[in-house]
Amino acid sequence: MTDLKLYQVGTFAAGNRLVDLELRSVQAHADRANSITSGHRACQGCGEALGARYVLDAAMRAAGGDVVVANATGCLEVFSTPYPESSWQVAWLHSLFGNAPAVAAGMAAGLRALGRETRVVGQGGDGGTVDIGFGCLSGMFERNDDVLYVCYDNQGYMNTGVQRSGATPPAARTANTAPLGPEPGNAFGQGKSAPLIAMAHEIPYVATATVADLRDLERKVEKAMSIRGARYLHVLVPCPLGWAAASSDTIRLARLATESGIFPVFEAEYGEVTAATPIRRPVPVDEYLRLQGRFAHLFGKHARPDLVARIQAAADRNIVRFGLVEAEPRTGS
């Protein structure tokens, strides 16, 4: 057979019986590390549990299993380690809510002093990363510590009951951004983009990813693991509880977030964007918002098309800014 490129589900699904084992994702392998294993107490359909396994299994494969992990307080820590149980099948250390990047940096320094090749991953939720842990993270970047830091962004402080974080999107309902008044939900114009701030530190590698594009996520982890110094990966992980969405919609929501332009997927090296994942099947932001109870107040009886339009405008800006429609969309083959 010649160079036939199409393989049915191409590179979109986890595996593909028509291609060599090596070309399938890490997740398609029955012997994957399962870094976070069954029995954890994450909600049904938890994007964070899924994202953490995707990332760490890929990191484990890239580093031949020689990985240690520092984990900030948050859902990921709480649902995985109620004493005496642990879901972790990697060497894993719980730190505080606000210091995981610093702990990871210390682990890297210690291992270097011991002459060990062990690789270090730091990880936390968006609250632990973009809010309380942000000083530690910035320091880790500035010193170019040899750590891959991963933020699992579920856009709120989910573990403590869905409070607003610096990563909560405008108009979203949280426990402390009520859907009331002229600007219901979270305020527009606040919050921050941690990936762009990470880029401003001109560290070797910054990337965003989602649980909807496994191959892209794994490739980025693998690439990050091939680099030394400070690396930052920001992964969108929908939260059925905090977003008031169906547990079966977790991956669909992540996909709609990228296809609408709301969550740009890109990578950057030394402060420059080097690649962006083009939109394949464009959708208006409505399709993304309507599936989530946290945006329910934008629709229905007292609909707020003006606010939906502002969210659309922000998505359109991302599309222009990151060139999300310019490049050739992926065909999957």
């Binding site: 049915q8 028509l18 399938r24 107490r41 994450a42 049904q44 065909t331 999957g332």
Partner: protein, 544 residues
């Protein structure tokens, strides 16, 4: 107990926590019926043979054998079937239907090229079955009956087997070497074929041949006549007779200007044939509009490309030498054509009538139990007539008339005959739920526009009987097979295994049940079902 530095407590695994107890719904792997399978009149398991073919190489033979389970004519059907499977195909709602028919043809041609054969795997039953008519339906039944171990004799009136596949469908759509090869493969199973013999009295033939059962498939050989006032010098022939002569190797004389009356596939075949026989003008006269024409779109298009003209909304009222009187029609509210009184002349040296065919059932006169209604024989679900042990199928029973339908009848009847001979009833057909397009997650399918079969260049089309529609090359055939979305059945993409946040799916390595749900840990989130490309997982409520 000794602990490493700074460790004071033992840890247990969270696997002690059986989160399966949270579940209110459980995922189930399903085997739903894809629309291609549902639509195939021959009963092919299209999805599964495409699944085999997708592997290419050695798997082609596996795919071919799967077709051969139900249809002994992959190379023929891969050319002449009207492919309702493609009309039903879910991929049509995404971009364009999978080219099922072209892959079938590719496999059929591979089989001929490589000399693949089938065998009889059942011990001989010692029972004798008569088949009347060697058209697609009779041959299909003979094939199945032979493989079931029965001794089969086909009695056929014509000089060669094939029925309308030989004496109807023209060569430019079905090269005779292909037909001959697939018929020979059936005969090689030990089927007796008695050519040039017309059955005139079924009771007598059955008695003399000591047959235990019979399958009748005499088709519909009689061209329907219209009552047209015609002068003595006018040249009127019917399309079936014309094509029959052609099938015998004659080149009938039709003249320079030929008109064809009718709107079905036979009319189009006659018109395209007239062109190839040298007619400068070949005009199809039809009473309704193109939209209402029963002929298939692709064939009308191909005919137009070859220079065949169509006059819609026209009926013929008078036939004279060299000319026809045509009356313009208009459709009433019910879509029925009504005369307008406006007439015109159409010059024509001959007129070919393609107004449908009737079955010649005289050989059944006096056979007790057989019921004929509207010119066709009544049969039950097993294709048995009112006479026990006598079955019928194909064009002579009430159903759609196509070779594929006939093949399906032949197989169903063969199973019915076999069951009847053994005093059993046949197994109920499986009633799997339909695999709906909405259940698929089409995001996962790679973008893949359809590969179409190339056509012979137009100059050679209007002067020769060379095959018009060409084969897909090997790469394109494999590509086309891989466009299949495996509707309602697992395609082993590992996506469910990948997306479960609870690692609650086990990969077994067994191709028959590649995945199992670990109900100790499955929380019932439904992600596996939502993200299965093929819609092969269903969420079912737990009893709680």
């Amino acid at each position: 107990m000794d602990h490493p530095f700074a460790i004071t407590l033992d840890v247990g695994s969270s696997r002690a926590n059986k989160t399966g107890s949270w579940r209110t719904e459980r995922p189930l792997y399903v085997h739903n019926q894809p629309p291609c399978n549902r639509a195939c009149p021959a009963g092919e398991d299209v999805r599964t043979w495409l699944y085999d073919a997708e592997e290419g190489g050695d798997a082609y033979e596996r795919a071919w054998r799967r077709i051969m389970e139900v249809n002994p004519f992959p190379a023929v059907m891969g050319r002449v079937c009207y492919h309702p499977c493609e009309t039903g195909c879910n991929r049509g709602q995404l971009d364009e239907a999978v080219g099922i028919n072209s892959v079938e043809r590719f496999l059929g041609d591979e089989a001929i090229r490589c000399g693949w054969q089938v065998t009889v795997d059942q011990p001989s039953s010692g029972l004798r079955v008569l088949v009347v008519g060697a058209g697609p339906s009779g041959l299909s039944a003979a094939y199945q009956l032979a493989r079931l171990g029965h001794e089969v004799t086909i009695i056929e009136a014509a000089a060669k087997p094939g029925g309308m596949m030989r004496y109807g469908i023209p060569e430019y759509r079905l090269p005779r070497e292909v037909l001959d090869a697939e018929i020979q493969r059936i005969l090689d199973l030990g089927v007796h074929l008695q050519l040039g013999t017309t059955v005139t009295d079924l009771d007598a033939t059955m008695r003399e041949g000591r047959y235990d059962a019979a399958f009748l498939a005499v088709g519909a050989q009689l061209g329907r006549r219209a009552h047209l006032p015609a002068g003595t010098a006018s040249h009127v022939v019917d399309a079936v007779a014309l094509l029959h002569h052609l099938g015998e190797g004659d080149r009938p004389m039709l003249g320079r200007r030929v008109a064809i009356y009718g709107g079905g596939n036979t009319a189009v075949d006659a018109a395209r044939t007239a062109k190839r026989l040298g007619a400068e003008e070949s005009v199809v006269v039809y009473r309704r509009t193109r939209e209402r024409m029963p002929a298939h779109d692709a064939e009308v298009r191909e005919a137009e490309e070859e220079g065949v003209r169509f006059t819609w909304l026209s009926s013929i009222t008078q036939v004279e030498e060299g000319s026809l009187t045509i009356e313009r029609m208009e459709l009433d509210e019910t879509g029925f054509p009504q005369p307008t009184g406006v007439t015109e002349q159409l010059p024509a040296d001959s007129l070919v009538l393609a107004l449908g065919q009737d079955s010649d059932l005289r050989f059944l006169d006096g056979v007790s139990g057989i019921e004929v209604d509207h010119g066709v024989v009544t049969v039950d679900e097993q294709m048995m007539t009112g006479r026990p042990g006598v079955f019928a199928g194909g064009d002579m029973v009430p159903d759609q008339r196509s070779a594929t339908v006939g093949i399906g009848h032949g197989r169903r009847a063969a199973l019915g005959v076999d069951a009847w001979l053994h005093g059993r009833t046949t197994a109920q057909p499986d009633d799997a739920a339909p695999a709906e397009f909405e259940a698929l997650n089409t995001w996962y399918f790679a973008d893949a526009p359809r590969a179409h079969r190339p056509l012979l260049e137009a100059v050679r089309r209007s002067s020769t009987f060379d095959e018009v529609v060409q084969s897909l090359d090997a790469d394109s055939a494999l590509y086309e097979a891989r466009r299949c979305m495996s509707c309602g059945n697992c395609l082993s993409c590992d996506n469910c295994f990948g997306v479960c946040p609870d690692n609650a799916i086990i990969k077994t390595g067994d191709p028959d049940t590649p995945y199992l749900i670990d109900l100790d840990y499955c929380k019932g989130c439904g992600l596996c079902a939502a993200e299965c490309p093929a819609g092969a997982i269903r969420m079912a409520p737990e009893d709680i």
